[in-house]
């Protein structure tokens, strides 16, 4: 509850402002609109108490200032008149933006894709915002040094932009300046573009965010220097950070309840800037303690290839099982940067002991596995991760237990998962975002029949919950404890973009899943979950609430009945 109270405080607290309506003794009466003025504006209109030079403001000067302040609020043709000693301002209608056109822009720039512009009050701030948008769009389209100039006709509501896009540019080697205390090759590990790739400001920002995510620097950014519309130089600037970071955070979702995470991270170890991180994550369902060391062992410091041994334990207390896993896994990791995506791979052994307190399979399963993962993530998916709108990611995971070495039988688990997002119409901000995610996984087991018993519940497929089929409770499927050995899930979601001033985004979804209690086979049951939901993009992250109805077709005896299922989460995205 304290967390919820804190959350409510964040969401509902009004922003600090000294704006207020004018006092009657100011001698100004507004008609037509109720407007608030800042303290400084009030001083300029009504005079500042105690000031000999500005204690009173002559009437014509009041008119002068009032016209400007009204323009700032979108009232461009006020009628000012004098009634006795009172200056009466009939504000007239607030001008609205009704059309937007751009001259001089490259064909790739479509001003019609700009949403949330028409119908808004035609204010200087709106023009400045639209100017920034034009410049930003051009920087995303390959023009690093654009110049945009806007003008507007309050009567017709027309906004006209004049653009000088400048010369298109490509990305390449980047100089570093500022408090750079690491070899620049280390920073190249996190670069999100390749040489000679077309300029896109988002790739620079993404590169900076990757560096920040490693906590190597307090702040990092890419500085563009332009000369006569041409990119002269890109400079990477830094603010060094102390090497140790302790964090303690809280989160929440209805599946797992309160979430607590504590972390200790030590970065910049050795000349290769190795990383040691320790994490404790605790929810009502899961508790994880892990320590991991990223050893960048190659002489080429720019290479992200590393050996990442980790040691940890994980306890899961789910409806269908309760198990604790101890794991030591020294994995080789590497990333390859492509013009539009990043490919990440992991490979290595993993030594595990799983103790099942409750659930299917043997109580204690020891295993040595060969673990591998290949994940491709588009840059746009990564860039818009906190406000998903477009891009994709796909991962192929595989782990193979080697029979005769800690395990009796060999067994392999393979899984393909993906997330795809489309910004329908390509509007900015988005109008509709369509998402498609899916998972397909199964086990490859020898036909002896004993191998299945050595599959711990933590490896098995349990469906249901906010992460997949949202009409069922967390890991509710299958109804039996033993879990699926084969699973197929497809989820579709259509979400509104920014439709209103309040960042509420309604959504509809349909999730489908099938499972098989045997490896490589799917049972006849079909699980469906149509539903609706609401996403609220607050300044502390997105809040999502979904209400799905679980439906089971070709139902088996062990399958749950289905029904309504509600989820509320902070930060989780489709």
């Amino acid at each position: 509850m304290p967390f919820l109270a804190l959350l409510a405080l964040f969401l509902l607290a009004p922003s600090p402002s000294s704006a207020a309506q004018l006092q009657p003794e100011c001698g100004i009466r507004l008609e037509g609109a109720e407007l608030d003025f800042s303290g400084t504006e009030e001083d300029w209109l009504c005079g500042k108490e105690g000031s000999r030079a500005w204690g009173t403001i002559p009437l014509n000067q009041k008119r002068y200032f009032l016209r400007r302040f009204l323009q700032e609020r979108g009232y461009h043709e006020p009628e000012l008149s004098l009634e006795g000693d009172t200056l009466v301002a009939r504000t007239g209608p607030q001008a609205e933006a009704k059309s937007f056109s751009v001259e001089g822009a490259p064909p790739a720039l479509d001003p019609g894709k700009r949403r949330r512009l028409l119908g808004r009050a035609l204010t200087p701030a709106l023009l400045s915002e639209t100017e920034s948008w034009l410049g930003r769009e051009l920087q995303e389209l390959g023009y690093p040094c654009p110049e945009a100039e806007l003008s507007a006709q309050p009567g017709s509501g027309a906004i006209l932009g004049k653009v000088a896009a400048g010369e298109p540019a490509t990305l390449g080697p980047i100089a570093s300046e500022g408090g750079v205390d690491l070899p620049h090759q280390i920073l190249d590990r996190y670069t999100a573009f390749v040489d000679a790739q077309a300029f896109d400001i988002r790739l620079l920002e993404l590169s900076a965010r990757r560096i920040l995510a490693q906590d190597l620097y307090l702040s990092t950014y890419y500085d563009l220097s332009c000369e006569a519309g041409k990119l002269a130089r890109i400079t990477r600037r830094f603010v060094p950070a102390p090497p140790r970071l302790i964090t303690a955070g809280v989160g929440f979702d209805t599946e797992r309840g309160p979430l607590v995470r504590a972390r200790y991270r030590r970065v910049r170890i050795g000349h290769a800037a190795n990383i040691w991180e320790n994490m404790l994550l605790a929810t009502l369902r899961e508790q994880t303690l892990e320590t991991r060391f990223h050893w960048f062992f190659r002489e080429d410091l720019a290479s992200p290839m590393r050996l990442s041994p980790s040691l940890g334990f994980e306890r899961e207390d789910e409806e269908r099982f309760e198990a604790t896993t101890y794991r030591f896994s020294p994995l080789f990791m590497n990333e390859w940067e492509k013009p539009s995506l990043q490919l990440a791979g992991e490979l290595g052994p993993s030594f595990e002991r799983t103790v099942t307190q409750r659930g299917p399979g043997e109580r204690i399963v020891d295993s040595m596995r060969l673990v591998g993962r290949l994940r491709a993530t588009s840059h746009l998916f990564e860039y818009y991760a906190t406000s998903p709108r477009e891009g994709w990611t796909a991962a192929l995971d595989g782990s193979s237990r080697i029979g005769g070495f800690l395990s009796k039988e060999s067994a392999s688990r393979i899984q393909l998962s993906y997330d795809l997002l489309w910004n329908l119409g390509g509007f900015d901000p988005p109008w509709l975002v369509f998402g498609w995610r899916g998972l397909a996984g199964t086990f490859l087991l020898p036909g002896t029949g004993t191998a299945e018993a050595e599959v711990p519940p933590t490896d098995r497929f349990y469906l249901g919950g906010d992460a997949d089929i949202r009409g069922f409770g967390r890991k509710e499927l299958p109804g039996a404890e033993r879990g699926f050995l084969t699973a197929l899930y497809q989820g579709f979601e259509l979400r509104a973009g920014e439709w209103w001033d309040v960042p509420l985004q309604p959504l509809v979804f349909l999730d489908l899943a099938k499972g098989g209690t045997k490896a490589g086979q799917l049972d006849r049951s079909l699980y469906l979950a149509p539903g609706i939901g609401l996403r609220y993009e607050s300044f502390i992250g997105s809040l999502r609430a979904t209400l799905g109805r679980g439906i089971v077709r070709n139902r088996r005896a062990a399958d749950p009945e289905g029904g309504l299922q509600f989820f509320l989460s902070l930060g989780r995205e489709f």
């Binding site: 001083d43 002559p58 700032e72 003008s151 600037r237 950070a241 964090t247 991760a385 992460a467 502390i540």
Partner: protein, 758 residues
């Protein structure tokens, strides 16, 4: 010789004979003039000597009767006389003349006009094209008006004047182009016993011109008295002028004209007196509208008197005394009325083929608001056609002053020209003086000085400006002015608009709105000016956010054809930077003719026990770049942390370190405008965020009451996709893409985090 003598004798006889014949002929004609002057001979003479003219009449009767030995009475009567010839087509229904004449010497003289009746019907005269006008014999008009008696026949002849009737029903003057000019007139004297004349005349040309005259006159005892009304319209003006006149020894004309020109109405009373030696014009209650509809110019008691040249009749000496009253009914006008006393005298003279006028004038006005006096004179030169050719020895002095600025302020209050804050609390005097110095050719050099001595509300505006204004072509109708001014700000102290610790309001209208004004046509600039502005005592600007007024030294050169150039220097002054005492050594703003940018060169010094910090302000005023130096040498981040938080970098917490770094970057990037820098310097800063790509910043400042406010430029782009958003000291919202290994999907984990770096 004998032959010659005979020839001479013969010639003498012959001449005597011819003389006798001529004498007998003339005697016969005098005896019976109708023998020669009759209808047949007149017809023959017209056809013989004017073959291109066709003259016809219905009835022709010309009779003579003896009147003593040397006199005759004659009566001519023509009915339906029609005359047609080159450019003329006229018909006169009746022409009757009855007069007596006598031979006086060898020429006839009219001794009695008993009846004259000329009744014309339609008379059409085609006027030719260009007709060269003969130049006047003298460029100066002969304004002498003779005594009426000298123009009239003897009194005994006048007393015998019987019926006089001159009338024309329609006189049409047809120019080669344009509508014809039509006139009608009728002058009637009914009979010998009736001394009154009646004159009715009209004149019109299309719809543009129409005039009427309706007058009556009495001629008794060689004194003409007339009265009547002239009314009509022409070229957009309408006139209605009742008049009366008498003319005996001198002509006196009294006129009350009402003139309407396109909505402007002039009216008043004019009195003209003219004789053969003097001319006088007096205007009373004359109301003349100025350029503005709601303004009026009235001449109260304007009198022009002129002494005429004895031989040539031009006004050789004139004097004007006039009291002009300017008034307005405009509600917004700050000054409703003003009275100007004007006195002038002129001596006109002829020099060869030119005219000159020696002019002296004085104009004075003394009002509650202002006092003004203008004196001047000189010789105005004209050619024979009265074209102005120049002025010699011109003189002009003008002095004007506003003795009480508060009176001006009071008058202007509520008007569109009200004195704005902070000047509206000033009191004192403004004085303007102008002197015309020795001129050369058409160059008129004026020495002008303007002095203000205004104080009030803790402010002062004491300035002295002197200027040389050189005017050319004033008299040629193409004036051009060169102004060289030197302005000295002797003592100027002003209070800047009040500001609070929040985003400053929009002070000027955003020009991005509304129709774009077309570029002004580049006409010939007839005013060229240059000004040099310097300060005596430092110009002090007091700002509400600063404890001490800022002293400036000004040295600027302004001109009509280039940007301001020079320097404005902020002089040494103690200041507070982030609530720490520091000192401005100098901040020089340099303006150049060739650039819009204002160069910045500033040095501020902050001392604390650990270091002496030099803050260099460089670059441009719109994007000042701040360079930090110190003794002993510290890194930029260390200096910023000293300035912002009075701590070394090692002592900073996470947020302070980030803020220091962001501030350092923003300062060196010139992200803050000069105003924002001043604003930020005036209060402790809690945190600074800066995104160099978008050049946007967010600064949280702490107010005295422990509350905080944020000042930000466009920070939206950075906020939207940030992975760690700091929401307070050591608190942040962190978003991470998580790999959920058992589920395969990637999900976003968002936490509200406390963090600490060390």
């Amino acid at each position: 010789m004998h032959v010659l003598a005979k020839l001479l004798k013969l010639t003498a006889w012959l001449a005597s004979f011819l003389l006798a014949v001529v004498a007998l002929t003339l005697l016969a004609i005098w005896w019976k003039p109708e023998r020669l002057l009759n209808e047949r001979n007149v017809s023959w003479a017209i056809s013989r000597f004017a073959p291109h003219w066709k003259v016809e009449w219905e009835k022709f009767h010309w009779s003579f009767s003896p009147r003593g030995a040397l006199g005759k009475d004659t009566a001519l009567l023509l009915h339906d006389l029609c005359v047609r010839g080159p450019g003329v087509d006229a018909c006169l229904p009746e022409l009757a003349l009855d007069l007596g004449f006598s031979i006086d010497g060898f020429s006839p003289r009219v001794t009695e006009l008993r009846n004259l009746v000329v009744r014309a019907g339609k008379v059409r005269i085609e006027t030719g094209g260009d007709t060269a006008q003969e130049p006047p014999s003298s460029p100066l008009p002969d304004l002498r008006v003779p005594r009426l008696g000298s123009l009239l026949p003897p009194q005994e002849s006048l007393s015998k004047l019987g019926v006089l009737e001159l009338s024309v029903e329609e006189l049409e003057l047809a120019p080669p182009d344009g509508p014809p000019l039509r006139a009608a007139a009728r002058l009637v004297k009914p009979g010998r016993e009736e001394p009154r004349f009646a004159l009715v005349a009209s004149l019109r040309q299309g719809k543009a011109l129409a005039w009427k005259l309706d007058a009556s006159a009495t001629l008794e005892n060689r004194q003409l008295e007339a009265s009547g009304l002239v009314s009509g319209r022409a070229s957009g003006l309408r006139l209605r002028a009742p008049f009366s006149a008498d003319w005996g020894e001198e002509l006196r004309l009294r006129l009350e004209p009402r003139l309407d020109t396109g909505g402007k109405r002039y009216r008043g009373k004019l009195a003209l007196s003219a004789s053969d030696s003097a001319l006088g014009l007096e205007a009373t209650s004359l109301r003349l509208p100025l350029s503005w509809r709601s303004h009026r110019l009235a001449a109260n008691g304007c009198a022009l008197t002129a002494r005429l040249h004895e031989e040539k009749g031009y006004p050789e000496h004139s004097e004007l005394h006039c009291s002009l009253h300017v008034s307005t009914t405009a509600k917004s006008a700050p000054v409703k009325e003003a009275t100007v006393a004007l006195e002038a005298s002129t001596e006109l003279g002829l020099g060869g083929n030119s005219v000159h006028a020696d002019l002296d004038f004085t104009a004075r006005s003394s009002q509650r608001l202002f006092r003004a006096k203008v004196e001047g004179g000189g010789r105005l030169n004209f050619d024979h056609a009265w074209r102005f050719t120049g002025v010699t020895r011109p003189r002009l002095t003008a002095d004007a002053s506003i003795p009480r600025f508060s009176a001006v302020r009071g008058l202007l209050a509520g008007s569109p020209w009200a004195v704005p804050a902070p000047f509206h609390v000033l009191e004192g005097e403004i004085a303007l003086a102008a002197r015309l110095e020795a001129s050369e050719g058409d160059l008129l050099p004026f020495r002008v000085s303007l002095r203000t001595n205004l104080t009030g509300g803790g402010q002062s505006v004491v300035t002295e400006t002197s200027a040389l204004v050189q005017a050319r072509g004033v008299f040629a109708g193409k004036p051009a002015f060169d102004v060289e001014a030197e302005a000295k700000l002797s003592d100027v102290a002003l209070e800047a608009p009040p500001l609070r610790l929040e985003s400053p309001p929009q002070a000027t209208l955003d020009k991005r709105f509304g129709p774009r004004a077309p570029p002004a046509p580049k006409g010939e600039n007839n005013v060229r000016w240059r000004a040099h502005v310097t300060s005596g005592k430092p110009v002090r600007i007091r700002a509400s956010l600063l404890p001490e007024p800022l002293p400036f030294a000004v040295d600027l050169r302004l001109a009509h054809d280039h940007r301001p150039a020079g320097t404005v220097t902020l002089l040494p002054v103690p200041v507070e930077i982030f609530k720490k005492r520091a000192r401005v050594e100098k901040v020089v703003f340099t303006l150049r003719e060739s650039s819009e940018a204002v160069e910045l060169d500033g040095l501020l010094i902050y001392r604390n026990p650990e270091a002496l910090v030099r803050i260099l302000l460089l670059g441009q005023a719109s994007e000042p770049r701040v360079v930090l130096q110190s003794e002993p040498p510290l890194s930029e981040s260390q200096i910023v942390s000293l300035l912002l938080f009075n701590k070394s970098v090692q002592e900073l917490n996470e947020e302070e370190a980030s803020s220091s770094a962001s501030m350092g970057q923003a300062l060196s990037d010139g992200a803050f405008g000069l105003f924002t820098l001043m604003f930020l310097s005036s209060t402790p800063i809690e945190s600074v965020g800066y995104d160099p790509v978008s050049d946007s910043y967010s600064v949280r400042v702490r107010l005295g009451d422990r509350t905080t406010v944020s000042v930000a430029s466009d920070f939206q782009g950075e906020r939207q996709y940030a992975i760690r958003r700091r929401i307070g000291k050591r608190w942040a919202v962190t978003s991470e893409l998580q790999r959920e290994e058992d589920e395969g999907s990637s999900s976003l984990l968002t936490l509200l985090e406390w963090f600490n770096r060390f």
